[in-house]
Each structure stands twice: as structure tokens, then as C-alpha cells.
């Protein structure tokens, strides 16, 4: 069901959303998330970012995350597009779009896919700052965000 893509090229969020609804009349809700490169991270100005990934495993991991979401909620379709390679502040990095009959499933599944993507999909960010290049460190808050789905809790923290 899910459509997963890893690419260097920019994506068109509108086109991705349209692909979820084209030719069907059973979609009542589409929830989307778009993540972008910020010009500030951990107190340093970011001028450029390079995203590395593990070709093959990345796609498998994303498909697995989508399958978990589809098993958990009543969804009609999912799309995940993740960019790799060089990016600059303002660039979109990732898009998650989920369609369902009602908004509750779409909202929840969209957040679940992002939380799991951030902790389970093999991507790594390297930032260019005035102090030189640095690899972005994994955040404990991302593990906590993913963990709440496993523990069955719905609220943060």
C-alpha cells in the first residue's frame, strides 16, 4: 500500500497529496508532515547540510514503518519521501502523507511514522557551521517520542 521514495531531488508536497486522493472518493482526511532544514541547530548557524543514508536498508526500514502504521490504524494510503545529499536551510527534507476516512487515524499515523523514522530509518545528517562540519547527534527526546507508541501511552513525557 505504502509508497516510499528516497531521492536527491526536491519534492512537490502538493503533488504527493494529490496522488493520495486522485480517482478515489473514500478519502475523508489527509494528514501531512513536512520537515525542513533550519538555519540554527544546537546554538550554531547552519549554512549547509548533507544527508547520508544506507541504500537498500533505508527503503526497507521506511516500508516496515509504514506497514506497522497500516496494521495499527485504519488507513487508506501512506507516502513517505525523504531527500538525501546536499541541502540548505529552507529546503524540505522529508514528507509524510497519510490518508484515511477520518482525521484521527491520519493524524496519529502521520506522527507515528515520523517518530519511528527519526529513530529507526538509517539517515545521518552532517551540518556545516562556522566552526566547521559536524555530525548531528541523536536526541534522547526523539527516542522518547518513539517510545511512547511502544509503551501504549498517548501523551508526551
Amino acid at each position: 500500500m505504502a509508497h516510499v521514495r528516497v531521492q536527491e531531488a526536491p519534492f512537490d508536497a502538493g503533488r504527493e497529496i494529490a496522488a493520495l486522493t486522485e480517482g478515489r472518493r473514500d478519502v475523508g482526511a489527509v494528514a501531512t508532515f513536512v520537515g525542513l532544514v533550519r538555519d540554527l541547530n544546537d546554538g550554531a548557524a547552519v549554512s549547509r547540510m548533507t544527508l547520508e543514508h544506507y541504500p537498500g536498508m533505508t527503503e526497507r526500514a521506511l516500508e516496515d514503518i509504514c506497514a506497522q502504521a497500516a496494521a495499527r490504524w485504519d488507513l487508506l494510503d501512506l507516502r513517505v519521501v525523504h531527500r538525501v545529499g546536499p541541502l540548505v536551510p529552507g529546503d524540505a527534507i522529508v514528507l509524510v502523507a497519510v490518508s484515511s476516512a477520518h482525521r484521527g487515524e491520519a493524524f496519529a499515523a502521520c506522527e507515528f511514522v515520523m517518530d519511528f523514522l527519526k529513530t529507526r530509518a538509517p539517515f545521518w545528517k552532517k551540518e556545516e557551521t562556522p566552526g566547521g562540519e559536524r555530525w548531528v547527534e541523536a536526541r534522547a527526546s526523539d527516542d522518547e517520542a518513539a517510545g511512547r507508541w511502544v509503551e501504549g501511552g498517548e501523551g508526551r513525557g
Binding site: G35, L51, E52, H53, Y54, G56, M57, R60, H82, I93, V94, M114, L117, K118, T119, R120, A121, P122, F123, W124, K125, K126, W135, V136, E137, A138
Partner: protein, 84 residues
């Protein structure tokens, strides 16, 4: 033989992206390979020092030290992920 892949900061630390190593006889696991890597020079022992955060995947699925290995497996080592 198994193929070893290294990604991101771990790849830079060991200055190696990909190599092939022989599997020792017996019932080798990821731990067997990690012990071999740690026994190399200081760069490798530092990169795989106990307590340092790294992850491992076998044949593109998340694994751990106890995961068994067989000839032809693809074993990837990398730091905690930071996509999205």
C-alpha cells in the same frame, strides 16, 4: 566471508566504508566480528569502545551483538540515526 559496511561518523572514524572479512569457524555472531575489529589499531578500538553509541544491522535489518552470522551476510555499523 562477510561484507562489512560503515556509515557516517563511524565510517570517518575508522576511515573505511566497506570491506570483506573472513568468518571465524564455530558459531560466529556480530560480537565475534566486533572483537576482531577492536583488536585492530587504536582507531578501531576507539570507534568500537564499550559504551560508545553505535548500531548494527545484518542483511539490512537491525541486529545486536548476539545476532548469528553466516557466509555472505552484509553487516553494517553506524551511529544512532538522525534523519527526518
Amino acid at each position: 566471508m562477510v561484507t562489512l559496511l560503515y556509515f557516517a561518523s563511524l565510517r570517518e572514524r575508522v576511515d573505511c566504508a566497506r570491506e570483506q572479512v573472513a568468518l571465524p569457524p564455530g558459531t560466529p555472531t556480530v560480537a565475534t566480528i566486533v572483537d576482531t575489529l577492536r583488536a585492530r589499531d587504536g582507531r578501531w578500538s576507539a570507534a568500537f569502545a564499550p559504551g560508545l553509541a553505535w548500531r548494527v544491522a545484518v542483511n539490512q535489518s537491525m541486529a545486536d551483538l548476539a545476532t548469528p552470522l553466516k557466509p555472505g551476510d552484509e553487516v553494517a555499523f553506524f551511529p544512532p540515526v538522525t534523519g527526518g
